[in-house]
Amino acid sequence: MYRSQQLAVKYLAAAIALFGIMTVAGLMSAYYYINPDFLFGILHFNIAKILHIDTMVIWLLMGFMGAIYWFLPEEFGRELVGIRLAEILFYVFFGAVAVVAVVFIVVQYGNSNETALWFINQGRKYVEAPRWAAIGVVVVMAVFAYNVIGTAYVTRRVTGITAVLMIDLVPLLVLYLDAFPAISNMSADLFWWWWLVHLWVEATWEVLIGCIMAWTLMQLLGTSRRIVELWLYIEVALVLGTGILGLGHHYFWIGAPSYWLTIGGLFSALEPLPLLGMVVHAVYDAGTHHMKTTNRPAFYWLLAEAFGNFLGGGVWGFMITLPQVNLYAHGTQWTVSHGHFAFWGAYACGVLSVIYLVVQKLRGLDYLEGTLWKWSFAALNVGLIGMVGALLVSGFAQAFVERAIGGSTHDAFIAGQTNPWFVEGMITRFIFGLLFAAGYVALVWDLLTIGRRAPVLAAAGAAE
C-alpha cells in the first residue's frame, strides 16, 4: 500500500470520527428547540450549531482528501510528491480541529476585537474557526494541492480526471481566503461569503466529488476511463454552467441589485436538469450491471448519492429557489430541510461509498458484502429523510405564519415557533435524528468489522 493510501485511511477515519461529533452536536442543536433551558448559561445554541456545521464541512473535506489520497498514487503510478509533509500535516490538521472545538466549547466568546477573531471565534457561519486555524487550513490545502500538482509535474502524467481535479483545486483554495476578512458592511460581507460557500458546495465541491465518483465507478463497476472522463466533462459543463450564475440565488435579499432575482432565479432553476441526467446515468449503470457488483455497500451508497442529490438538491431546492417563493421561505426551517437533504445526497453518500471501497481494498477482498451495512444504510437514510420531512413541515408552518401572515416581526417569529405544526416538526426531527444517530453507530461498527470474516463472505459471494 502506498504511504499516500495509508494517509488516506487516516483521513477517512478522522472523517468518520468528525461525522460522529457532527451528529452529537446536531442532536444537541435539535434538542434546544424542544427544551430551551437546555444548558442555559453553560453552552448555548449557537455553540452547538457551530460545532455541528463546522464538523460537517471538515468531515466532508477530510473525506474528499482521503478519497483523493487513496486514488491518486494508483492514478499516477507512484507515491505522491511531498507525502512526508502531508503525513505531518494530518496530525496538525486534526489537532487544530480539536483545539478549535475545545475553545468553542470552553471559551465560547471573546471581546469585540481582533484578538477574539484570531484566537476564539470569527462568528461567520461555517468559517467561525479563528484565523490562526484558518491559516492552518490554507496550509493543509496548499500542501494537498502540492501533493497532487507536484506529482503530476514529476510524472508528466496527467489524465483527464487529474487535470479536472488540479484545475478545481485552484478556485477551491483561493475561495477559502474569504474565511479571513471581517468586512463591516454586512451586504459586502455576505456577498463575498457566498462566493466561498456557494462556489464551494455548488461548484468546486461538485467537481471534486465528480472526480472521486469517476475513480469509484472505475473500480466498482470496471467502467473505462474514457467513459468516466467523458461524463465528468459533461457534468462539469452542466453543473458549473448552471451553478456559477446560480450563485445569484443567494443575492436576492442581501442588498444586491435586483437583476440578481432574475439571473439567480433563472440559473438555479436550471440546476435540477443535470441532476436528472445523473439519475438516468446511475440507474443505467446499476441496470447494465444487473445490480451486481463486487462491493454492495459502496454501490448502494453511490445510488443513494445520485438519488439524494436529485431529491435534496433538485426537488427540495427547486421548491424554494424562485424569488417569489424564496421571499417567504428564506431564513426558515425550510432552508434547513433543503440543506440537510442536499448535503447528504450530494456529498455524504458519495464519501461513504468511497469509504466502503477503501475498506474492501484494505481487507484484501475480492467481494464485500454483509448484513449490518444494510441496517446502517436504512437507519441513516430513513433517519435523514425523516428529519428532512419534519423540517419541511416546520418550514412550511414558519413561512406561512411568520413570513406570509405575520410580516416577520419578533412577535411573528414567536407565533411561527409556537405554531403546533412547527413544534411537532421539531419533535419529529429530533426523533428521526436519534434514528440517524443509531445508524451512525451501526456504520462505525460495520466499518470496523465488515469483511473480517472473509472466507465465509467470499464463498457466499461466489455462490450468488
Binding site: 457561519k125 455576505l190 467523458l230 443575492y251 442581501i254 419578533h410
Partner: protein, 197 residues
Amino acid sequence: MHVDDPAFWRAGAISTVAIMSAVLIMLTIDSLAAISPGGSNVPRYTVINQHIDYKFDENRGNDVPVIGGPEPLFGKAVDAAAAEALIDKGKMVIQSRACIDCHTFFGNGAYYAPDLTKAWLDPAWETWQAITGATTREDAMVKFLMNPEKYRIWTRAMPNLGLTQQEAEATVAYLKWMASVDTNGFPPNFGHMQSKQ
C-alpha cells in the same frame, strides 16, 4: 468532433466555465458599487442620524426602506468617522459573539432566534421599553442587549453575552443602519400584518 469523443465535452466544459465566470465577474464588479455604503442599495453609515422606515412601493411591487428627517441615535448626531467607528464596532460585536449562529441577518444565519434585518423597526421594542423602563427605543435595545436573560418575554431566552454599554450601543447603531439597506423587499410585509384571505 463527435459526441462520443471526450475532447468535445472537454471543450464544452472549458468554454462554459469561462463564459459563466466572465459574466459573474462583470456582474460582481457592478454589484460591488451598488452594495458599497453610499451606493444605490446601501446607505452611508451616517444614515443612523436619520429616521428610517419601511413602506410598500407600488412601482417596484415590494417594500423599500424610506430614509426620513433627522433622528439622531441616543440623541446625538455623529459625523461620518464616528458613524463608521460605530458600525465597525457593531460588526465586531456581532462576530465575536457569533450572533449569526442564532439569528439571521438579511435572512442568512441560524434560525433559532429572530431575523434582525428590520429589528430596528420592530414593534416589540415598545414592550421592552415598558419592561426595561427605558425612555427611547434605542435605550431599551441597549438595556436588553446588556441583560437579555432579565427581560425574557417567552420561553426561549437570549443568553447574556457579556456586552458592555459601548458594545451594546454599537450593536444598536449597526441594526439601525442595517434596517436602511434596500433588500428588494425582504422581509415582506414587515410590521404590517397581511390581511387574511
